[in-house]
């Protein structure tokens, strides 16, 4: 029984200590993910805000991120690794490249999706371009922006296993080792640990999202859930729809990246967390 093997592997104290132990592996994995998503946000959020705000370069942006999405991360990392001759750099760059498109797309869509009337009113009230961006577009973009970051995080957690291919540890290690020696207990344990980490990080980000999304927008989402007859205004429905399409887009994007057991587990968990949130 494969799960019995998994529990046996997890129960073995030898697997929980030292540089190859579970805590160390989780720590490495977590570190790569956090750095990659932070760097990708530092690039993707300002870029997405700017393109969304000015409305210029939207097509270019969508085209570029789609072609980036098509890049095989493993291939990219291996290539960079060979070119750079080792180190964590190539792995991190690969993960950042992977994480940028969802963040960029989420931010851009978030700004684009702000009700045209709201933006028009902001201009008409006498806001400058910067004031409009900071006081209106960014706060209203936070739900989609955050769903972009969460989606990026899930993909990065799943893909950070590639670090193991180039000898940099992380939770890809038990996957690789398990496969090599046909120790399926170890393999599944690795996959489950990755899935758990993904769920945990997503939960943390969900809490963060609650903090950064303005309270008024949560009211809007709730209003949109009420039957249409209960609310005459058309604005709540708009924002609600945007949230839905953003979330379903995420799942689609994750689905194209790979088919390892860990990723399937993540996708399932993603669907669960996404579902309970709505």
């Amino acid at each position: 029984m494969i799960f019995a093997d998994m529990f046996a592997w997890l129960a073995d104290p030898a697997n929980w200590t030292g540089p190859a132990g579970v805590p160390a592996r989780v720590g490495q994995h977590l570190l790569y993910c956090l750095i990659a998503v932070a760097a990708a946000s530092a690039i993707g959020v300002p870029l997405g805000l700017w393109v969304g705000h000015t409305g210029r370069g939207g097509l270019l942006l969508v085209g570029t991120s789609n072609s980036i999405r098509a890049l095989p991360t493993l291939g990219l990392v291996t290539l960079l690794y060979l070119v750079a001759g080792g180190g964590t750099g190539p792995v991190l760059v690969g993960l950042v490249v992977l994480a940028i498109p969802p963040i960029l797309a989420g931010t851009y869509a978030g700004v684009q999706d702000v009700d045209r009337g709201v933006v028009d009113a902001a201009r008409g009230m006498g806001m400058t371009g910067w004031q409009r961006l900071w006081q209106v577009e960014l706060p209203n973009a936070t739900p989609l922006l955050m769903s972009g970051i969460r989606s990026a995080m899930l993909q990065v957690v799943a893909t950070a296993s590639v670090a193991a291919y180039v000898g940099l540890g992380g939770l890809g290690r038990p996957l690789l080792d398990g496969l090599r020696v046909l120790d399926y207990g170890q393999f599944v344990a690795g996959a489950v640990l990755i899935a758990l980490l993904a769920v945990l990080l997503d939960a943390v980000l969900a809490v963060f999202q609650r903090v950064v999304v303005p309270h008024g927008l949560r009211v809007v989402a709730r209003a949109a859930k009420r039957p249409a007859s209960a609310n005459r205004s058309s604005q709540p429905e708009r924002t609600g729809d945007a949230g839905e399409s953003g979330a379903s887009g995420d799942t689609g994007a994750a689905g194209t990246t790979g088919e390892s057991a860990a990723e399937l587990a993540i996708m399932a968990s993603r669907r669960e967390t996404g579902g309970s949130e709505r």
Binding site: A121, G124, M125, G126, M127, L217, A223, N231, S233
Partner: protein, 368 residues
């Protein structure tokens, strides 16, 4: 005062939205831009606060060329209300209203205090200030939109179809509210609508636009209804413009007739060949008893034939004609300011009054 001088707007795709517009919007009154869809009303309005830049021509606000001003500064000095209100969904109602004062550098406390005053001014309870726009009805949102535009006390207010997204009953309430506010505030208001009824109801001057962004007629509502400049305006003003123009005919003294009345709770007396009007203790009309109806014991509310609309003496004759036409007895019920029964009037009498009013009105106009 807002002046358009030979203003033309041609968009990049070649559409001429406004063509050689010469128009002076008077200070302190409501001027309505009205016309069919796509005739350049919104574009004209938005050129005033530079949301759209004219291709040629000049726009002056109080003698100052708007191009001389920095757009954000200019806009903070001009109130702006749009359809669907465009309220910021992430801000509370109070903070929405405080937007322009905050942009102008007021302290948060002072801006919020001002915002609370504005909510009261537009007839919203103070508790609503803590809510978010999504938690308001459409009509309440529009009121907040108006309050937000008024917060920094701008002399000029631009309103682009502010009430078109709410149902007719709410809309009428909002129109009354605007007229009441304007009585107090005396702003220079430019109001865009495609609804001619709304235009003649709230406008002191009405500018009718035709397709291609050309001004077709610029006149007071009564004048517009009585003497449309051409077939386009006549067609736009509508088939029942004669009836609508009664809104502007003052009743003068309508000679009232009297009918027999009976109070609720009293015995009806012997059946007669006449309609009998039933009143309550405050002498408010409640309904009719048809001719030859017999009532056992006291008259109750339940057995009555419902009455038509009521006409308040001294208001425009449109109401009198409507009261007569909608009454089951053919007798329009006239009430005093407190709603108490004053008399009745027939459609024939109203029409005679209109006929008598006609020659003098046109004669007076020709005299100019």
């Amino acid at each position: 005062m807002i002046e358009f001088r030979a203003v033309t707007k041609r968009f990049d795709d070649g559409t001429v939205a406004v063509n050689q517009l010469d128009l002076t919007v008077e200070a302190g009154i409501i001027t309505v831009f009205v016309g069919p869809s796509g005739c350049g009303k919104t574009t004209s309005l938005r050129m005033i606060n530079r949301m759209v830049e004219p291709t040629s021509g000049t726009i002056l606000v109080d003698g100052q060329d708007v191009r001389a001003a920095d757009p954000p500064r200019l806009r903070r000095g001009i109130g702006y209300v749009i359809q669907q209100a465009g309220l910021f969904p992430h801000r509370t109602v109070l903070d929405n209203v405080a937007t322009v004062p905050l942009l102008s550098g007021w302290s948060r406390g002072r801006a919020r205090h001002r915002a609370a005053e504005l909510l009261e001014l537009v007839g919203l309870p103070a508790e609503l200030g803590r809510r978010y726009p999504a938690q308001l009805s459409g009509g309440q949102q529009q009121r907040v939109g108006v309050a937000r535009a008024l917060a920094a006390d701008p002399p000029v207010l631009l309103m682009d179809e502010p009430f078109s997204a709410v149902d007719p009953v709410v809309r009428e309430g909002l129109q009354d509210e605007l007229l009441r506010l304007q009585d107090e505030l005396d702003k220079t208001i430019v109001f865009v609508t495609h609804d001619i009824d709304e235009a003649v109801r709230i406008g002191e001057k009405v500018a009718v636009f035709r397709e291609g962004g050309v001004l077709a007629q610029y006149a007071a509502p009564a004048e517009l209804l009585a003497r449309p400049a051409d077939d386009f305006v006549a067609g736009f003003v509508g088939r029942d413009r004669g009836y609508r123009s009664l809104s502007f005919v003052d009743s003068g003294e309508v000679a009232l007739d009297q009918v027999s009345t009976v109070a609720i709770g009293q015995p009806a007396g012997a059946p007669t060949a006449e309609w009998v009007l039933v009143l309550d203790e405050q002498r408010h009309p409640r309904g009719w008893l048809p001719p030859r109806s017999t009532v056992e014991g006291a008259v109750t509310e339940a057995g009555l034939t419902p009455g038509g609309s009521l006409y308040q003496a001294g208001t425009p004759l449109r109401g009198a004609l409507d009261a007569a036409l909608s009454s089951p007895s053919g007798l329009g019920v006239v009430v005093d300011e407190r709603g108490g029964y004053a008399g009745v009037v027939t459609a024939r009498q109203v029409l005679d009054l209109i006929e008598r009013a006609r020659p003098t009105a046109t004669g007076a106009e020709r005299g100019h």
